[in-house]
């Protein structure tokens, strides 16, 4: 049993921290988020080429550094700490995480491009009525000649406005909410019949409603075997959830740190508000939730390579726990700050908004508690 970071992981963390300290202050972020593009491609290029984090957890044979989930955890924590909006989760953890499972030339090339910072992808899995159920797919892909014809609608596809390729789940068989019959396609976003309505999200990202109307796809657009995509998508979404928990760790740590700092400076009734015992205890509870969230993130990250049931139970337990911590710590941070905590101007309010949206991203706490409840009976008994 070992909870320490390797030397490489420590270096990775330090160089990323240094880079973000220099480039990612609150003001630059605010401007980027308010810009037409909504992000900074130059940051992305630098992350790929100068800092070299995009390939940290990807295979060496595709140009990565061959790290694993712990490396992803290290990166995501720092991205959370700096409130980075660029699509590391969407493109690297999910996109490349899926693509690396397939050995088609297109998939391998895409991973290499992602590592190089040349390709942004987004996974279109959710639909207007699917809520968080990844098997609830109404989008269809029907055989058409050698290839496929894609029809359907995907909802709140985060990072899609920045992406040139989409990974899309579509039903090639089976009924709505059936695990079997879901296939995965890699398509160009500018293909005929693909249309998107882009918009900002409340936490400073960008997303799209994507519609497919008779989109013609070649045979090679299908990744892996027909109808067998779900186990892969589930596994990668679990990796993404663990990564989200790590991001939350950075966000929560900042919420605690900024709140503690603020209370030491802010005076009311002639003394720093840090002196008030009620606020002290509330900050202690914020600290405890954050520490416990970090522990759950370690646990989930280190269990990603176990069996599907163990992995999913661990990840859902962690995401449920961390999601609730995001809500309670965020609310406490704002309340302790008072009015100033509600202003666009203070960085804290943006951490609060991101924490709030992490709670529901890739499944709310309620969803993951359900999933954990359903899985726990199948878990092997403890030794």
């Amino acid at each position: 049993m070992d909870f320490s970071f390797s030397e490489e992981q420590r270096l990775l963390r330090d160089s990323l921290q240094g880079f973000l300290r220099n480039t990612y202050d609150a003001d630059s972020r605010r401007k980027a988020v308010a810009s037409d593009a909504g992000w900074r491609p130059e940051i992305w290029r630098a992350l790929a080429q100068d800092v070299g984090v995009l390939g940290a957890a990807l295979p060496e044979e595709l140009g990565g550094l061959g790290g694993g989930p712990v490396d992803t955890m290290v990166v995501m924590t720092e991205l959370g700490r700096a409130l980075v909006v660029e699509p590391f989760l969407e493109t690297v953890v999910i996109g490349a995480g899926l693509l690396k499972r397939y050995d088609s030339p297109a998939a391998c090339a895409a991973v290499e491009q992602i590592i190089g910072g040349e390709l942004i992808t987004a996974l279109a899995w959710g639909e207007p009525t699917s809520r968080y159920d990844v098997a609830d797919v109404c989008t269809t892909a029907k055989r058409e000649g050698e290839g496929w014809r894609l029809d359907g609608k995907k909802a709140v596809v985060v990072a899609a406005p920045w992406a040139s390729k989409l990974l899309v789940t579509a039903r090639t068989g089976g009924g709505q909410r059936e695990a079997q019959g879901v296939s995965l396609f890699l398509i160009d976003k500018d293909a005929a019949g693909v249309s998107a309505v882009d918009y900002p999200t409340v936490d400073g990202k960008r997303a799209s409603e994507v519609t497919f109307e008779g989109v013609s796809l070649g045979a090679d657009a299908l990744l892996g075997e027909e109808g067998q995509a779900l186990p892969h998508v589930e596994a990668v979404l679990d990796e993404a959830r663990a990564a989200l928990c790590a991001e939350a760790g950075g966000v929560l740590s900042e919420l605690v740190r900024q709140t503690v700092e603020y209370t030491k400076q802010r005076k009311q009734f002639g003394r720093p508000i840090a002196d008030f015992q009620v606020l002290q205890h509330r900050m202690v509870d914020m600290f405890i939730s954050t520490e416990q969230s970090l522990s759950m993130t370690f646990m989930a990250t280190l269990k990603l390579d176990l069996t599907a049931v163990e992995r999913a139970a661990a990840v859902s337990a962690a995401k449920a726990y961390v999601g609730r911590a995001c809500t309670s710590v965020g609310q406490a941070a704002v309340q302790i700050h008072g009015g100033i905590g509600l202003t666009e101007e203070l960085a804290l309010s943006h951490y609060f908004k991101r924490a709030t949206m992490i709670e529901q991203a890739l499944g709310s706490s309620d969803f993951h508690l359900r999933r954990y409840q359903a899985l726990r009976a199948e878990l092997p008994a403890a030794a």
């Binding site: 207007p128 709140v156 918009y199 009311q268 008030f276 309340q335 009015g339 709030t356």
Partner: protein, 398 residues
């Protein structure tokens, strides 16, 4: 002891309901339905209609000042019917905050000058209380007013001034004696917001809205006859006002409406193929919130009944504030949970000028912004921590 409204109360309720149905401005309703931001005139239209209807804009005012002379129960019914119909609220700053102070402490001239236009919606008021250095610790304010003949010259900065961008007049706490102890040396001034030296700067809140402002005062000249009550006795007015400020803070009818809206969202969302409002876990959360609201409603009714018996309102107003805001916030939290992924799009017409095409179900729109916005309720108007301090001291004697 019984729960029934009297026949007179029921007749009154029907009268109010019918009046709202027949007189509420259609163009305001249309904007509300479309989720558009309301402007100054939208707020004032309904106020003016109620003002011309025998003082219905000022339910809490005594008859001598033009109030309608309602019983506590009638006031409750009136508020309930308005919340039920979702009318634009009468802003409290004039009618419920400064007006009672003017009635209690103002001169006959001041009453004649300020009360009638406040009732009729011709004078929009804002509140100059909080300062950057003095939030919950109100008496720590440092805005200075120096006497210069028959004027005060005022310098300082106020903050969290709600809708000051629309205001004609403001009531301000200023320090007129800098050496006196904290609560002494404060005066209560009425200030024409068009006076030279007044600058209103927007504060954009985390939901992107422009609802509050900073107000900068630079050598603003205020005639002495716009001071209410004695010089250096403004804290008396302030305390009096704070006692009135929490009236209606429980927001029971508003929360009922929020819970109805929650049921709407939940009936449109599905989980595991079942409507979310049929899902046992989510239904449990809604039921718990409904029950919390029920408790608050009956606590408020008990207070009203005591008031109707002529007993003074107790410090349970702090209780109403605490539980009322907790419930309001919880309702927005559940709405966001119910909306699921469609809580995420940021589409409202907002201060930075965006006005995106709507996505997702109608009922889910803006839920996150509402959630963010409502975090203010446990901070403003005396934070819930301050309210607990008040109960500890005044009720429990701690």
């Amino acid at each position: 002891m019984n729960l029934d409204f009297s026949p007179q109360d029921i007749a009154f309720r029907d009268e109010v309901r019918t009046f709202i149905e027949q007189n509420y401005p259609a163009e305001v309703r249309a904007k509300q339905d479309a989720g558009e931001e309301l402007g100054r005139e939208d707020y004032l239209a309904w106020h003016r209609i109620l003002g011309t209807k025998g003082g219905w804009s000022t339910p809490s005012w005594p008859v001598e000042y033009g109030g309608p002379g309602w019983t506590p129960i009638q006031k409750f019914i009136f508020a309930e019917e308005n919340a039920r119909a979702g009318t634009v609220p009468i802003l409290p700053f004039g009618v419920n905050m400064v007006a009672p102070v003017i009635m209690a402490f103002g001169t006959p001239d001041q009453k004649a000058r300020f009360l009638p236009p406040t009732m009729m919606g011709e004078m929009w008021w804002c509140q100059g209380y909080s300062e950057p250095g003095a939030g919950s610790d109100l008496a720590g304010l440092s805005t200075r007013a120096v006497r210069d003949g028959d004027h005060y010259v005022v310098n300082g900065q106020k903050t969290w001034t709600t809708l000051a961008q629309h205001a004609d007049w403001g009531f301000f706490l200023v320090r007129t004696d800098p050496v006196a102890k904290k609560q002494e040396g404060i005066s209560f001034l009425l200030l024409d917001m068009t006076s030279p030296g007044v600058t209103v700067r927007p504060i954009i809140t985390l939901d992107g809205a422009h609802e509050v402002n900073e107000v900068w005062l630079e050598d603003v000249r205020v005639p002495v006859e716009q001071r209410i009550f004695d010089e250096n006795k403004g804290w008396t007015c302030a305390k009096f006002l704070l006692a009135h400020e929490r009236t209606g803070i429980a927001g029971v009818a508003r929360s009922k409406r929020a819970i109805d809206r929650l049921h709407d969202i939940a009936s449109e969302e599905t989980v595991d193929g079942l409507a979310l409002d049929q899902d046992p876990f989510f239904a449990r959360k809604m039921a718990e919130l409904e029950i919390e609201l029920m408790a608050l409603e009956y606590t408020e009714l008990r207070g009203l009944a005591r008031e109707a018996e002529g007993k003074p309102p107790g410090p349970e107003s702090s209780l109403l504030k605490i539980k009322g805001t907790e419930i309001q916030q919880r309702a927005t939290e559940l709405a966001m949970e119910a909306a699921g992924r469609y809580a995420s799009p940021h589409l409202l017409h907002n201060a930075t000028g965006g006005n995106e095409a709507p996505v997702g179900p109608r009922s889910a729109r803006g839920v996150a912004d509402t959630y963010f916005n409502m975090r203010k309720t446990s901070i403003y108007g005396g934070s819930n921590e301050i309210q607990r301090n008040i109960i500890a001291k005044a009720v429990l004697g701690l």
